[in-house]
């Protein structure tokens, strides 16, 4: 155990995800040896992220303003909405450079084992958006919802729940991200569930 503020810093760093006691100690001593200007800059950035970052009023993504850059961009197609679990999933989809629509961030997935039910997610906001009563209701009707939740048990259950809710919206097409074999992999190493999904979702080539 170290004394006073050094131990306090190690304890606080140790509470961060993925930072164990050894890593916390290493980071704390790095900060102790760093220039005062570097530490001040880190302190300012931490304060700014807590005070200056808010959630987009339309999609729930992290944003500096009331609307995030994807919702504020008039060049993006407002009739297609990609539903994701977390703000970091928005970046993952953006990295593909294939999607030019808008997003809706649920804030997690349905996980009864973790006590997370439909009311804990931004599903009500999605329904309001589709019903034309959300903050971006002046941008026209949404014609397609792409459900891009994680391909695990919680993500699949969330997709099942959303499909059940959205099927009653007239003229709305609900799609799910395809799942199957990763690029660069060998077929013989694929697990039976992934291969089964790939077979079920096969596409015609001619």
């Amino acid at each position: 155990m170290f004394e006073g503020p050094v131990q306090d810093l190690i304890d606080e760093l140790g509470r961060l995800p993925g930072v164990g006691p050894k890593s916390a100690q290493r980071i704390a001593f790095h900060l102790l040896a760093a220039d005062a200007a570097d530490v001040t800059r880190l302190q300012e950035v931490l304060q700014k992220v807590k005070e200056g970052v808010q959630f987009c009023e339309v999609c729930g993504n992290v944003s500096e303003r009331e609307r995030c850059r994807y919702c504020a961009d008039a060049r993006r197609d407002p009739t297609i909405v990609c539903v994701v679990e977390e703000p970091r999933d928005v970046l993952a989809v953006e990295r593909t450079r294939e999607f030019k629509g808008r997003y809706h961030v649920l804030g997690g997935a349905l996980d009864p084992l973790g006590g997370i039910g439909p009311d804990a997610l931004r599903i009500r906001e999605l329904l309001a958006r589709l019903g034309g009563t959300g903050p971006a209701s002046d941008e026209g009707d949404i014609g397609e919802v792409i459900i891009a939740t994680d391909p695990n048990t919680e993500g699949e259950a969330t997709a099942t729940y959303l499909v059940r809710l959205l099927k009653d919206f007239p003229g709305l097409s609900v799609t799910r991200l395809a799942s199957g074999l990763p690029m660069g992999g060998d077929l013989e190493f694929a697990d039976e569930m992934t291969l089964g999904r790939a077979l079920a979702g096969r596409r015609a080539l001619s």
Partner: protein, 248 residues
């Protein structure tokens, strides 16, 4: 010294660990409840990520670590997960089943978990196979798991004086049906159909259970949930989120 062992089990829950790993909790046939690290399974190119998902019945090989075991191989025996998650009501009922099994079996109690394991495999198989109403499967599992733990509600005789029934009142705190003499304050008065359904679920009389109407199923579910949570002395997080859709 680390030892290698192999067992079959049902995945009860998974928790994220570090960058791409998971801690997987399994209820196994021989070793009871184990917690083991599955390395790299959150990466999309993982060969086992899909196998080690909740509800799946798997054959695993692990080696014992200092604090947590490590899974080195995994084969799917029954991919129950995909059948359960394709229906939201079944998924919520399944989560309550997994959480109950997780709470009832301790990591130390190896010897007495085989019955809960067999009950769990049967319940998840029935859920995935869509054989009958998810709510009935859940209540039957809860009653039988409680029976194994020694907390089965008394149905045909008074829980306090053992006077033979049928009785009119049910007391959660008292341990089940109570006679008019022993009946404590706060007891409820379910109909005789509810007692019949409780008995059918506890003893696996499915023709009687399937024939029960929606109000009886609802009353029975309420009593089972209250009885379970009273005796476990804690709330189950998944139970209030169970979607009860009775299809008589």
């Amino acid at each position: 010294m680390s030892t290698l062992y192999r067992d079959t089990g049902v995945v009860l829950r998974v928790q994220k660990l570090g960058e791409a790993d998971r801690i997987v909790t399994l209820l196994t046939r021989r070793c009871g409840k184990i917690r083991a690290v599955a390395k790299g399974v959150r990466r999309t190119r993982s060969r086992w990520g899909a196998r080690l998902e909740p509800f799946n019945h798997v054959d695993v090989q692990c080696y014992t670590g200092r604090s947590l075991d490590v899974i080195t191989q995994c084969q799917t025996l029954d991919a129950f997960g995909s059948g359960v998650v394709s229906d939201y009501a079944r998924y919520t009922a399944g989560c309550a089943i997994l959480e109950t099994a997780d709470r009832l079996v301790s990591e130390e109690g190896h010897g007495d978990s085989l019955r809960v394991y067999l009950l769990l495999v049967g319940a998840v198989r029935a859920l995935a196979g869509r054989e009958r109403d998810a709510s009935l499967i859940l209540d039957a599992f809860l009653l039988r798991a409680m029976s194994h733990a020694g907390w089965a509600p008394s149905i045909t005789e008074c829980a306090k004086c053992a006077a033979p029934g049928p009785h009119r009142a049910f007391s959660v705190q008292g341990g089940g049906a109570v006679c008019d003499v022993c009946r404590p304050p706060g007891s409820v008065l379910p109909g005789p159909e509810t007692f019949a359904l409780l008995d059918a679920l506890l003893h696996g009389d499915w023709p009687v259970a399937d024939a029960a109407d929606a109000p009886t199923r609802r009353d029975t579910s309420g009593l089972v949930a209250a009885h379970l949570q009273w005796h476990m002395e804690r709330q189950l997080r998944s139970l209030p989120l169970v979607e009860r859709v009775s299809r008589p």
